[in-house]
Amino acid sequence: MDIENKVMSFVPALIAAYSIRTGKYLYVNNSLNKLLGYSPGEFLNGGMSFVASLVHPDDAPMIFRKNSEALKVANNKKFAQKMNESFVNFEYRMKHKSGRWVWLQTSGSVFSRDKNGKVESVLNISVDITERKIAEEKLKKISHTLELQIKQRTEQISLNEKKFRSLIEHSSDAIALITKTGKVSYVSPPITRILGYRQNDFLGINGFSFVHPSDLPRATKVLSQLLLKPGTSTTVEVRVKHKNGGWIWIEVTGTNLLFDPTVGAIVANFRDLTERKQHDKWQELLGKVTDKMVASFDHSLTLGEIAKLIVPIMADYCRIVTVDERKQIQGIVVNHNDPSKISLTKDLYNNYMDKPEMTYGVGSILKKGKAEMISVVDERILKTVRRYPSIIKITKKIGLTSYMGVPLIARRKIIGAITFSSIQKDTHYSKQDLAFAEEIARRIALLIDNSRLYQDAVREIDQRKEIEKKLLMRTRQLEILSRASRDVNKILNINTIMRTLVKSAIEATDSQAGTYGIINNEKMEFVEYLSGSRVKQINISLEKGNGVSGIVRKTKKFYLSNDASRDKYMDPALQKRFGIQNFINFPVFGRDGEITACFELHNKENNEAYGKEDIEILEGLGASASIAYENTQLLNRQRELEKRKDDFISMASHELKTPLTSMKAYTQILKNRVIVTDDNEIYHFIRKVDDQILKLTRLVNELLDMSRIGNSKLQLNFESFDFNELITDIIEAMQGVTSQHIFQIKGKLKREVKADRYRIYQVITNILNNAIKYSKKGSKIIITLKEDRNSVTVGIQDFGIGISKEHQKYIFDRLYQATESKEKTYPGLGIGLFISSEIIRRHEGVMWVESRKRYGSTFYFTLPLVRLDMGQKPVLN
């Protein structure tokens, strides 16, 4: 191989020439082997088509196009001058014999031209750029990924930036970026709200120029300290000049981020303390409202105070409207900062805002029960009420800039509404403010509700107190009534009864005076006039039919008048005399239904009129009077009867005793005469007569005694006497009367008895007589004497017919006789035991009987004994 071939073989490029006309390869160097694994012969034989088939399908179209274009250019006369310059360059893949793809870079140049100057053959020089290509590809991929990441990152940052910006711009605090020298490089929009300046006003300015001179040293110190400590924060409160010239308290929080490459400044946060202070004021207001809520129950007063508190802290005009259950306006409380505007504002509200058809205002609040707010009163809002041009006019005149209204709701009921109106130009109500207003409204509503509940309770209590008072009054009246009734039942004098009742009536009806009249001989006689505590004797007698009592007698009903001077029945003379202004006359009825008396009451206290309650009281008293009156009549009659009876008995017994006296005397005379003549028979009969006279005398005495006992006129003469002696005397006398009975005495008294000897004699005689009367001849009668500490018990026992248990109950009663008539041997009046028991009773002793039918009876009685002092000997031996 010569040098040329050697060089050709070593050249790392594939050199090939092919004819465009034939499509056949004219020459291919040996590097083909290295590059594609084929031998040159394969290419030579295969030709263009073969080679073309080795090209990667994706690259083929590009090669074909490029080649075509290149050829066109090469065939151009202009280019023809520049021979041997490569006219096409492309990179493509070819399949290696082994099957793998190989990147080739081929540059083609014109090899030969034909006589016409058209390209005849091309020389391609190709280099294996596979490695480079692979590397390129890798790089591309990396680059792509990197690009993607960068894109994402960028987006994120952009978003965050947006957020941040938004945050800053919408924050209530203002944020500024300050350089280490204090110059402001950026400030966020809220600064306008806080300090009134526009953002641009600040830029590049030294922030300290706005700080209050007094606060400047402190601020400067803080800044220098901050500069020394990167990454730290510090807070300082300073006064900053507002655009309008006033000083605003600002809380500045600065963070040193100078070192941070992304920030490179001090981040300062500005918070308007005024606003906070304003909110503090509002909070304070809330507290005060709550206090008022707790302290007072009279909400009308308190609401006024609250409205005064609200203006000017929360509004320039505040209106609180309360409604009742039917949504009717109950009360309105207003307060205005500027008194000159009050009438205007009132106008606006009264004529427009209260109406329910209005979109805004108390009317709509009450209807919807929802809070509402017009944060900024601008032209747009005013347009909505263009139907009412006057509203627009007034609103503008007032200078209303902001408004909020909240319903007052308690226990789920709408009880009113509260509206806040502001004329401040640079502040408007915000959602926050509305929330606050709702909070206040809640408290106010509670206050009103509590107050109403309290008032209801108070009213109920008052009502109950009224009822209690009435009850008390009634009770008192009833007490007076019952006391009066009780009192008069004891009284027997009709005048006293009536006087007592009139007194009670005066008290019960709160009258000043009163009188009573009693019918006597058809006339109504007024004897007494009661006024205050005085009882005046008057003697006024009215004919039947005259005066007030006349009409009462006629109608049998009460009569009252609350204007005595004009009354047709009231006698003018009497009216004047007693100063009667109003009166009531009430009748008292007797048992027969006829009027027997009347009450009249004058001048009810406190100029009150006589009414239903008075009538009821008087009815009660009238009834008591009727009964009491009846009682007196009955009692008097009864007394009279008794007196007559007793008088009769007294007289009768006296009359009886007179002849008895002479009878006794005559029989004695007879006895004396007969003794002289010694005629036993006559004497015997005279004695019989004498006995009868004796009995008659005894009966008359008993009768007399009974009548006197009835009159309680029985007189006892107490003396101390020997009881034993009395007994023996009596038995002696008895034995004389009846020889058919045997008397026995058991027991003997050591002391004397203190009693009316004669009466006790009577008692014992009476009992013995009964004993004799009711026992057989020859039976025993035993008298026992038992001495106790202070008394003696005397027992007289007979063995006669006895007294049944039934009769024992009644034997001591007046006029009671226990026995059947055929048993009687000595009929008596049956009053003996009554008198005896009365006598014993008057001696403070007791009398009783123990008896069994058919076995006999024992009568007992006790008498007081003379007291024995210590050491004294018994009186009797």
């Binding site: 006296h654 007179t658 006296t661 005379i669 005398t697 007189q715």
Partner: protein
């Protein structure tokens, strides 16, 4: 002989009592009217006066008081009698020396007469 003056408006009592007492040996003078009796008392000079508390319409007490006024009659013992049981006290108050309750036992009467006519 002892003299007794009896004053009572009942004639039977006057009659029976005078017989009884005459039987006992007394000299009796009787009157139904008090004034007459008083007149007689001056003349009669009784040793004892028995009178009823109640004389027709007039009070026996007045008679007693009258008798007690005059020297001649003031020392004469007076016995009052009456059908009224409560008369005893009145009798004593009037100035009587003793009292008899009608109708009295004759023995009682005699006892009292004997006592005061001594």
């Amino acid at each position: 002989m002892k003299k007794i003056l009896i004053i009572d408006d009942n004639e039977d009592i006057l009659d029976s009592l005078s017989i009884l007492l005459e039987d006992q040996g007394y000299v009796i003078s009787t009157f139904t009217k008090g004034e007459d009796a008083v007149k007689k008392a001056f003349v009669f000079s009784p040793d004892l006066i028995i009178l009823d508390l109640l004389l027709s319409g007039k009070d026996g007490c007045d008679i007693v008081k009258l008798l007690r006024k005059f020297r001649t009659t003031k020392k004469i013992p007076i016995i009052m009698m009456s059908a009224h049981p409560s008369a005893e006290k009145s009798a004593k108050n009037c100035g009587a020396d003793d009292f008899l309750a009608k109708p009295f036992d004759i023995d009682e009467l005699l006892g009292v007469v004997r006592k005061y006519s001594k």
